[in-house]
Symmetry: C2
Subunit: 189 residues, 2 copies
C-alpha cells in the first residue's frame, strides 16, 4: 500500500481501495497489470527529435514525411501535444519542453528543453515556430523567453490565440479573457 | 405565489420559499421591494441609440463624447455589454441586438435589431463594426448574417477572437477550441 501511495494523485484512501481491489482480483489480472507497468518503462522512449513519449525514436510524427518539418509547435507536455493532435488543425511537427518556467518550483530555462529547441532551429529548415505553451502566467513567460532567445534568427514566431472558448458566453467569461478576445479580434474578409 | 412563479428561473420550490419569506418579512421591506419592482419598469428605458437598458436615453455611453463613435460593438444582450465594459478594453459604442438567431425558438432576423443596426451604419461615421455575439452556433450565425448584410458598405468588420481562455490548459480544452486557438494564432513582433 505504501508503494501505491507513491503514485501521483493517489492518497491514503485511493491506495487502500486499490490494495483491496488487487487482493480480491484474479491472479492473472494482477500479473497482467504488473507486466503492463514494467512494459511502459521498457517500451516507451523519449523521441530524440521532439522529446515526446513514443514507442520508438524518432517518433511516428517526426518520421512522417507528410508532416511539414518547417512548422514547429512548441508545447509544455506530451499531453498538450495530444490535445493539438486531437484538434486535427496542425500538420507540422512538435517540440516538447517538459514543462513551463516556474521559479517557485525551481524550474528555470535550464530545466526545460529550450537549448535543444535553439539547436534544432539553428540547424535550419524551420519557417515558423508556434508557441503553444498554455495561456497561464508560466506558459506566457515561457513563450516570451523563447521568443526572445530566437529573435535573432528572424524566424516567424506565433502564439496561439487567447479568447473566448467555443460555446462560451461573454456574460460568464472572466474579464481578462473578454479583453483578450477583443484585443485579438480578427478582420472578416 | 402563482405570480412569483411567472418570473424567469423561479419554479414551484423557489416561489414557495419567496412567498414564505414575504409573509414573515417586515411590512416596510415588502413595500420597499414592491416599489423597487415598479421603479425598474418606470425608470429604466431602452436607449434609442444602442438599445441598452439605461436610466435615460441616450444612455451614458452613447452620450459620452470621450467614447469613439466610429467603433461599434455588436452584442446579443445588455449583460454582454456589461461584460465587455468590465474588461476595460473597449472605448467605442455598442449596439444591442436583443438576442441571437435561433430558428428553433422562432427568432429570425426580424426579431433582432439588425435593421436598426443597418440604418445606424448607413447614417455614416462608423469605421469598424466589432461582432461580439457569443462564440456559439447561434452567435456565429448571427455574426455571419450581419457581416453579409453590411458587406456592401465596405466598412471593416471584425470578430472577437475564439481561443484558449486565460489560465486554461490545452490538455483539458475541447478540441474545437484548441483548433481555433491554432487557426487564429498571431504573429509576435
Amino acid at each position: 500500500m505504501a508503494g501505491l501511495r507513491r503514485l501521483p494523485g493517489i492518497g491514503e484512501k485511493s491506495a487502500t481501495r486499490l490494495a483491496f481491489f488487487l487482493l480480491s482480483a484474479p491472479e492473472a489480472l494482477v500479473h497482467e497489470l504488473a507486466d503492463a507497468i514494467v512494459r511502459v518503462k521498457k517500451e516507451i522512449v523519449l523521441c530524440e527529435e521532439c522529446f515526446d513519449l513514443a514507442p520508438a525514436s524518432p517518433c511516428s510524427i517526426c518520421s512522417d514525411p507528410a508532416r511539414d518539418a518547417a512548422l514547429l509547435c512548441v508545447v509544455e507536455e506530451p499531453a498538450d501535444l495530444e490535445a493539438i493532435e486531437r484538434s486535427r488543425r496542425f500538420a507540422g511537427r512538435y517540440h516538447v519542453l517538459g514543462g513551463a518556467l516556474s521559479p517557485i518550483d525551481g524550474i528555470g530555462p535550464q530545466e526545460l528543453r529550450i537549448a535543444a529547441l535553439e539547436a534544432r532551429v539553428q540547424r535550419g529548415g524551420v519557417r515558423e515556430v508556434v508557441l503553444a505553451t498554455n495561456p497561464t502566467a508560466e506558459g506566457d513567460a515561457t513563450a516570451h523567453l523563447i521568443a526572445e532567445r530566437l529573435r535573432q534568427t528572424g524566424i516567424r514566431m506565433t502564439r496561439i490565440a487567447c479568447g473566448m472558448p467555443l460555446g462560451g458566453d461573454l456574460e460568464y467569461a472572466d474579464h481578462v479573457t473578454v479583453g483578450r478576445s477583443l484585443d485579438n479580434r480578427r478582420v472578416l474578409e
